[in-house]
Structures are given as structure tokens and as C-alpha cells.
Amino acid sequence: MCSVPVKKPKTDIGPPYYYDMLPEIIKENYGKWKYHEKIKPGVLKHVSENGAELYTVRAGSPRLLSIVTIREYADLADKYSGGHLRFTSRHNVEFLLSDPANIEPLIAELEAKGYPVGGTGDCLNNIIHTQGWIHCHSAATDASGPVKAVMDDLFEYFKKDDLPAKLKISMACCLNMCGAVHCSDIAFVGIHRTVPTIDDAGVAKGCEIPNVIASCPTGAIRPNPKAKSVMVNEEKCMYCGNCYTVCPSMKIMDPVNDGVAIFVGGKVANARSGPAFSRLAIPWVPNTPPRWDELVVAIRNLVEIWVKDARKGERYGEWIERIGWEKFFEMANLPFTDKHIDDFIFSVPTFRTTTNFKY
């Protein structure tokens, strides 16, 4: 059923050598690219100092790929781009073409197979996301499902590049934030809302109590020496699930209360303003599989107010910076609650220490 090692396996060979993966045109123009042009959504052209032209065709991907699909990609690469392709940092696939005549046939075939071409320029990029119920023990929501539902709904914005600026949406299925969503234009993240329930016997048997105590950001956990376990101070616990990560006997799942929080206005690039964190917009929408309707509606609303009101060149957070958070909540028709006000370590610098505000 599975191969038996015939000799001592090689270890520490390191990743495949990237250079061997590059097409000839890149090898020849490596480090010599001079500028790029946007041909149309999903198609870039890079021109080198000596005039060579490289075309990139980008197709959207659900990231969770069957080897069947990957082989299809390989076949398309063989057919159109000399067998060369890459994946992007947002999990799209990019074909690297030296012959512009291949662009349209490739696009046609990709689209026909259901792999939409787009996602370049001032568009909605693919949604960075994580494992969810597919594979992670810690997920407060699914990842692939909500992402699919949101991308379906916002699909038009993936296909055209006339948004005010790039729109980067990210998602993570628990507060570990493997999607590193904390600096995205729009971020949504699975959250719990109830304190962990403690299986004392399990803790005693399976968990390092000092580590469990140290894992709690708010110091809500104290020892329970009688039970050789721990206790949680309900007033201090904000359901981060970090204790559960280090100790599976601190169950934190709660199907009716788990859900999704939505943050807005972060960015990563240093272009213009420096990188910035996303900020809480909606503390909770319920988990409503299979298509997370509330989440989808909420995000569309957030996208649309920006598309409508932002000036050309304004990322989400730059737009809010200009209009002010008070106007944002008004435009988004969202209640501002005590949850929006930081009360963690670095809270004080987030308070409005000026009378400069709008009504």
C-alpha cells in the first residue's frame, strides 16, 4: 500500500532550487525588469531593459486544490507557458507566458474550466484564509465555506480593476489568526463568545498547568490544586481559546455562540501611509452554514460604502482616516458598542485624546 524505504532517506536537502523552475525568458531577464503594464484584469505585462516581454495570466483559486486540478494547471502550463507557472502570496495561480498570442486561448480554457481570470490591479484580490472545519481542531468557524460564499457574492470585483484601490480581504478561523488577517482592508475571523469548560481529569492528565496559566492573555486562569486542574475567572476571560490551544481539555467550542467578527481598514504595504491594523467593525455575526448569509450581507455592505464614497487611490483605511470613524459607523449603519473600545494592553493610545471629532 505504501512504499517501503529501501535506503536511509535523505534529510535536510532543502527546498527545490527555484532557479530550475524559471522559464528561459526570466532567466535571461532576471533582475532586469524595467516596468510593467496592466493589460486587463488578470493579465500583466513585464518589460525588461532589453525589451523582452513577459506576460502573466492570473487565475483565482480556492487554494484547497485536488491533485486533479493541479495536474490540469500543469497541462495548461505545458500548452501555453512552456511548462512554467507560479502561485501567488494570496494563493492564486499565475501562468508565465512569453508569447502574447497564447494569452486569450489560455484565458478561454481557464474560464471554461471554472478558473476565473482576474484579481490584478485595483480589484478584489483572492481571500487569504485558513483551515477551518476542514482540518483544524481550533476553528470557531469554517474557512473555505465562508470564503466561497463571500467570493461568490463579490465576484464582480475580482473581474474588474476599477475599485478605488486594491481590496484585500482575509479570514482566519480562530484567534490564532493563521491568515494573519490583522492588517487587511477587510478581515473576518472566527470567534468564541463563551468561556471554556474544563475537563478536570483531562487537564490533570494531559496539560502542563504552568503553561496553561501563562497562555491566558488576561490572566483569567488560576490553579485548582484540589482537582490538579485549573479554574477560569469568568469576568476576565474573553474567549480567545489560547488555553484550548495548549490544553485540549479546556473545550471552547459553542455552536450557537461561536461566530465571526469583522475588522476593517488595515493594510500592509508601506505605500503612502505605513502598515496598519484592521479595526473592529462588527463584533459578531452568527455562524450560519452553508452560506453564511449574514456574513455575506455584512461584507457586501462594507465593500459598497467604500466603493461608493472613497476617492481614487484610497485604500479602505485611508478612506476611513479621511472621513473619520464616527462617519464610518454612520455610513455603514452599524452600532458602536463597548466592544469596539479597546481594553487590552495597548488600549490607552487608542482613546480619543482630543476634542477634534465630528458629530
Binding site: W284, V297, K339, H340, D343, S347, K358, Y359
Partner: protein
């Protein structure tokens, strides 16, 4: 008082700025003051102070208003063995008549060193240097003459306020009346320390904040308006005629791009809903621009200096409150008392109210004092997902609980 005697201090009589040494010498016929000069010369030699705390001193019925002070060199400097300070509550805005000042001087000539600070950093008139024995008689004379003590210790401190409507066109509230009113209303808290720590109130008539209330008051009250900046276009034209750079010095510096100047027709306009009422344009063109008519104040909390958790600037807790003389500022006073109640119940010893809010979270504070959360309270909402839910926001059963769900903020337009 010869040059020989205090060569170091002598150096500080030179130069164009008024000399505190000369001031001290003016009162050096008073033996205390003469010895204070000698002690100070010693400090200048030693590069260290020569004062220490001592037993608690005060006047009957009061727990504050006097700072007890003793030199650590009592043998050498017996006249300043005791050298206490009395904090005299200033009139609102530090307005005086010459007679009022003379009365103060006469009392202090009789009971103390003849030295003062006009005024202390909190706002009091500081009478600098007397003995324990003189405290009560001095207080009696002050009180007889219409003066009362200010605060010290863990109490409400002497409130202070800016020049206000008496001398300033920017005053959106009657800072003087409000300051007087609050001081009188809360006298008991001022004179009888019963708080976890000090609590300061400062009142500025507008966002220029000429008493620095946002930086050094636990409760900062800052005047503002809710309607529109008043514009006198004729006066705008005059500024233009004088060659004043309206675009560069006014418009380009507006923090919210809310004003515009049309150089062709020499017209200045304000986009009032987007104006954050920072005062800049009004400051720069006082003849042409004026605060709005529908005035009130922004209430902020938490300002303090460095100790312990580092300095805080006050932050907004009520964006706009009408401050009505007519109802005796009831809404504000009510809020202040609720704040004190919560702080009193929850604060640790020497924990300022801002530090307590930091420790417990705005959420607890707002709930306790009954203020609704509003976006104006924050520069930006939280970045971390570590927020709390109240028990009634949680869905208790799998069947769902529509009300809790609504309360929890499933904020979605369907």
C-alpha cells in the same frame, strides 16, 4: 544679604528676567525668608534639596489645603524647621481686585514668610512658608476675609478655568461660573479627602484649552459648539486685502479639509459637518470667524502626569453636553458623582481614575456611569479580537434566543 553671604544665589539676580531671588530678598526682613535664602544657598552648594515630610498638619475640620514641610537641617536653620504651605482657593479665572490682593498680602504678612506663588500649578494661590502654630489663625483670618483653602491629598483638587467669557470671545461655556459652582457644590470632597487619590477638574472655554485641562485634569471640560462657524465675509475680504495668506496659513492647515477659500471672490466657507472644531481657522482670522451659537462642552476623562502608569491625556466620554446655568449644571454634576462612586468603589490606593479605567476597561466604566459608547471616544476601534460579552448577550440554548442575538449585535441589514 551681602554678596559674600550667598554667592551662588547672587548669580541669579542678574539678567533681564525677573529674579525670584530678588523677590525673596524683598521679604527677607522676615527671618524665615532670610533663612530660606540661606538654606537655598546651601542646596545650591550641595546640589540637593533640604526638605522632608513630617507629621500631618492642617486646620480644624479640613483634611487638605496645607502641605507640611520641615527642613532636614533644623539645627542649622531653625527658622525653617517648620515651613508649611497653605493653598488658597483662587477666584475663578484668577481675576482679582487690588483690594482682594492686598487683603491676602496683609494676612500673609501677619502669619507667614511673605512669599507666595501666584499661582500654583493646580491653580491655588500658594502661601509659602509658615509654622504649625500659625496655620489655624491664618486660616481663620483668611476665612474671615472671604478666602477658603484649596485641595491637597486624596480629594477633589481645586478646580480651575481659563479667562473665559469675561475676557475671551472664544468661550463656548461660562467657564468662570461653572468653576465657581462646581467648587462650591463639591466643597466637601475638596476639603475632606475620601477618594482613592487626587481628582482634578479643569475647564477651558474652547478647544485651545488655555488651562491645559486635557493634559492635567482627571476630568477635562472643554467648550465647543454643535452648529456652524459664523463667518463675516466682509472681514474675510479685509484679511485678503492686507495680503494675509488665507490659503496657506488657514485652509491648508485645517485638519479635516473642512474649510475652503475662494481667492477669486475672496470667500471663505466651512463644511461644518466635517469641521472638527479645532479652532485653528478661528484663531487665525478672529475678526472674520467666530464660534457657533449652539454651544456646550465636550467632557473628557483620565488626564494626569507620569506617575504610575505614565502620563495620560484625557479622552472623550461625552462629545457634547449642554451646560445649563439654569438647571445648575445638573447633568454634569450627576455624571461627576457617578464617576466618583465607581472610582471610590473600585480604585486602589493611589490609583487615578484614568488608571482604573485602563485596568477595568472602558466597558465597565461606561456601564457603571451609564454613558452610551460612541465612536468619538476612540481614535479608532480596537485592533485585537479580545472583547467581552455581557451575560445577556449570550445565547443560552441551541434553540437560539432572538433577543440576545439582537443585543449581541448581529448587525446586519437584511
Amino acid at each position: 544679604m551681602s554678596e559674600k553671604k550667598r554667592p551662588l544665589l547672587e548669580e541669579l539676580k542678574k539678567g533681564p528676567w525677573p529674579s525670584f531671588v530678588k523677590e525673596m530678598e524683598k521679604s527677607a526682613h522676615n527671618s524665615k525668608t532670610a533663612e530660606l535664602l540661606d538654606l537655598l544657598e546651601r542646596s545650591y552648594e550641595d546640589k540637593t534639596g533640604h526638605w522632608k515630610h513630617g507629621g500631618i498638619v492642617g486646620v480644624t475640620g479640613y483634611g487638605g489645603g496645607v502641605i507640611g514641610r520641615y527642613t532636614d537641617l533644623p539645627e542649622e536653620f531653625p527658622e525653617v524647621r517648620e515651613f508649611h504651605t497653605m493653598r488658597v482657593n483662587q477666584p475663578s479665572g484668577w481675576y482679582y481686585t487690588s483690594d482682594a490682593l492686598r487683603t491676602l498680602c496683609d494676612i500673609w504678612e501677619k502669619h507667614g514668610s511673605g512669599l507666595t506663588n501666584m499661582h500654583g500649578a493646580t491653580g491655588d494661590a500658594i502661601l509659602l512658608g509658615t509654622t504649625t502654630e500659625h496655620l489655624q489663625p491664618c486660616f481663620n483670618d483668611l476665612s474671615e476675609a472671604g478666602f477658603d483653602l484649596g485641595g491637597s491629598g486624596s480629594n477633589m483638587r481645586t478646580p480651575s478655568c481659563c479667562a473665559g467669557p469675561a475676557r475671551c470671545q472664544n468661550a463656548c461655556i461660562d467657564t468662570l461660573d461653572l468653576c465657581h459652582n462646581l467648587t462650591n457644590t463639591f466643597q466637601d470632597y475638596l476639603h475632606r479627602p475620601s477618594f482613592p487619590y487626587k481628582f482634578k477638574i479643569k475647564i477651558s472655554g474652547c478647544a485651545n484649552d488655555c488651562v491645559a485641562s486635557i493634559a492635567r485634569a482627571d476630568l477635562s471640560i472643554i467648550g465647543t459648539w454643535r452648529d456652524a462657524i459664523r463667518i463675516d465675509q466682509e472681514a474675510v475680504k479685509e484679511y485678503a486685502a492686507q495680503g494675509y495668506d488665507i490659503q496657506g496659513l488657514v485652509v491648508d492647515k485645517c485638519p479635516s479639509q473642512a474649510c475652503t477659500y475662494n481667492a477669486e471672490i475672496q470667500e471663505f466657507t466651512v463644511d461644518n459637518p466635517n469641521c472638527v472644531r479645532c479652532m485653528h481657522c478661528i484663531n487665525k482670522m478672529p475678526k472674520a470667524l467666530r464660534i457657533g451659537k449652539e454651544t456646550g462642552a465636550t467632557i473628557l476623562i483620565g488626564g494626569k502626569a507620569t506617575i504610575v502608569q505614565s502620563a495620560f491625556l484625557s479622552w472623550v466620554i461625552v462629545p457634547f453636553m449642554k451646560l445649563e446655568k439654569e438647571d445648575d449644571y445638573a447633568e454634569l454634576k450627576d455624571l461627576i458623582e457617578r464617576i466618583w462612586e465607581w472610582w471610590d468603589e473600585n480604585g486602589k490606593v493611589r490609583e487615578r481614575v484614568g488608571e482604573l479605567i485602563y485596568r477595568k476597561g472602558m466597558r465597565e466604566f461606561l456601564k457603571a456611569v451609564g454613558l452610551p459608547p460612541v465612536p468619538q471616544m476612540v481614535k479608532h476601534p480596537r485592533a485585537n479580537p479580545y472583547f467581552f460579552w455581557w451575560p445577556d448577550e449570550i445565547i443560552s440554548s441551541a434553540s437560539g434566543d432572538a433577543e440576545a442575538e439582537a443585543a449581541a449585535g448581529a448587525e446586519v441589514e437584511k
